[in-house]
Amino acid sequence: MTRMIVRRLLIGVFVLWGAATLIFVIVRVAPGDPAQVLLGPDASPEQVRQLTATLGLDRPMFVQYLGYLGDAVRFDFGESARLGRPAMDAVLDRLPATVDLTLTATTIAVVLGLVLGVVAGGRPGGRLDRVVSAATIALQSFPTFWVGIMLTLLFSLGLRLLPSSGVGTPAHLVLPAVTLSLPFVAIVARVTRSSVAESMDEQYVQTARSKGLTERQVLLGHVLRNSLVPVVTVIGAHVGGLMGGVVIVENVFAWPGLGSLVVDAVANRDYAVVQAATLLIAVVVMVLNLVADLVYPLLDPRIRLESAS
């Protein structure tokens, strides 16, 4: 167990180093003098020279890279000239809003996905199964940003039930969270369905039925519990996708989280914030993947940790 965790952590550190390097390369290969970009087009050559020296941009590339890595380890990505404060502070400020959004969306995805999956898988090939199958195809194919706009059109402009953008009340959270969750509802439903459908032929289901339990009791008490492992697996595997969805959804609903910060920073070439935000996201995704890997054996002792690594 410990060996596996250490191994995973070492791989994680390597991956983060690679990720930091990748971002460094992209930012340095990009056209434009970073000092000029930071100061804007109106800066005098003297100002540009000065900032170049302050940022150490006149040092050899390799020295800059080492300095960058050293700073990155301390999560110090420098000042954002645009925001007038350390980049990491700006990123951490936005984190809670994104956590709210992703947690709510994950909850919706798990609850709705489990319900749909159990309903569909309880009678494979039945009418409900086919309806759910068609719905999951649609949910996974519709572009998230368009779905968000359509939900806004329907629920805030048409029915006037929910606010269309911004933050403040729990009502503000509903549309963004639902929009973000829909593709994952489909994924959870699909996985639950196939695992439930598979379990329906198992001996323990026959035993439960022959005890005289109703079909509902069999499904909820026996089949569902055993279907949770693949659901945890699939959520762990899709944390990255969820963070990707956040970028789009936060922009549709003007949600003040990490996703809208990243897009803003990219659009304004605010590389300090781009580096801080992308690496923080990489760390979060890595940690959550690790946690998911550690949780499977608790849910299903048959999974050996060695094979999970």
């Binding site: 791989i11 390597f14 991956v15 983060l16 690679g18 990720a19 990748l22 971002i23 992209i26 930012v27 290969v29 990009a30 056209p31 494979p124 086919r130 199958s133 068609a134 999951t136 195809i137 649609a138 996974q140 194919s141 519709f142 572009p143 998230t144 940003f145 368009w146 706009i149 359509m150 806004t152 059109l153 402009l157 593709p183 994952f184 994924i187 699909r190 369905r193 196939s194 899709h238 990255g240 996708g241 969820l242 963070m243 990707g244 969805g245 970028v247 789009i248 922009n251 549709v252 990243v262 897009v263 990219v266 659009a267 070439r269 781009v274 992308t278 996201i281 990489a282 995704v285 890595m286």
Partner: protein, 287 residues
């Protein structure tokens, strides 16, 4: 970014006896992308403001706007037609680049194994550390706006699935008797890979290319919705949808209709990809 992973049981379309429908829809979109711009004129810079926000079917100064006009008086149908071309061209180029890079690296890793394979696996780990769309946004945003940059940015994420599929095929093939035979006969590595390994990867790679096409169309639309990557003169569905957002209350059609076209294309390509995957498998081989 998580589109078109469809149920692994029998495809819905086939059960209903409409197995060819997705192919027909995709074919229609291809025709529109190729010939549409020849039949319909559209100039993104021409903005007849007297025609702005006309609902579908209205008469305008240049004819009838079947699908209405946008906030600058430009025809929505024409934007959908030109946007189809943009989407298709970018998706086709991206899939081609991803496929070339992915298949090359995948076959090398799978056939050579050992440290080459290990290095490739770690490189993939690094690329997977970021949610795909974020890497695409950072790359596309860092460079001058152009179609080429968008293709490169999308390919930076797209090559990995091709590498995975091809690696799996190459791994299982290198142990086959005919590959051994070729090796014993002294056939060069390159020839073995080209004549005895790659042909078997064709089916799975084509299936993967189709699924990847759907994902790329989706990602490109997301990118242009965010206003990153494409030059301002380019017409794209994502851009039209984004432009319509501010007029939702008065002009629902601007965002709604291109989104329907986009969804229809993605669903059709996705189902087509699943049909191909069911036929050729994900790296499954004839034994």
């Amino acid at each position: 970014m998580t589109a078109t992973v469809l149920p692994d049981h029998v495809p819905l379309a086939r059960r209903r006896g409409t197995g060819n429908l997705p192919a027909v829809v995709v074919g229609f979109f291809v025709l529109v992308a190729v010939f549409g711009p020849l039949l319909v004129d559209y100039d993104p810079v021409h903005t007849p403001l007297t025609d702005r926000l006309r609902p579908p079917g209205s008469a305008t100064s240049t004819g009838t706007a079947l699908l209405g006009t946008d906030g600058l008086g430009r025809d929505v149908l024409a934007q959908i037609i030109y946007g189809a071309r943009t989407s298709m061209v970018i998706a086709a180029c991206t899939v081609l680049v991803s496929c070339l890079v992915g298949v090359t690296l995948g076959v090398i890793a799978g056939y050579a194994r050992g440290w080459v394979d290990a290095v490739l696996a770690r490189v993939v780990d690094v690329f997977l550390a970021f949610p795909g769309i974020i890497l695409v946004i950072v790359i596309a945003g860092a460079f001058e706006r152009s179609v080429l940059v968008v293709v490169i940015a999308l390919s930076s994420v797209g090559w990995m699935s091709f590498a995975r599929v091809t690696r799996a095929v190459a791994l299982s093939l290198r142990e086959r008797a005919w590959v051994d035979a070729a090796r014993v006969l002294g056939v060069s590595r390159v020839s073995i890979v080209r004549r005895h390994v790659l042909p078997f990867a064709a089916g799975p790679v084509v299936a993967m290319a189709t699924l990847e096409f759907a994902l790329v169309v989706l990602a490109e639309a997301g990118l242009s919705f965010l206003g990153i990557g494409l030059p301002s003169g380019a017409v794209s569905w994502g851009q039209t949808i984004a432009n319509g957002k501010q007029y939702l209350e008065t002009a629902w059609w601007i965002s709604t209709l291109p989104g329907i076209a986009l969804s229809l294309l993605i669903i059709s390509v996705g189902i087509l990809g699943d049909q191909l995957t069911a036929r050729y498998g994900r790296g499954r081989l004839p034994s």
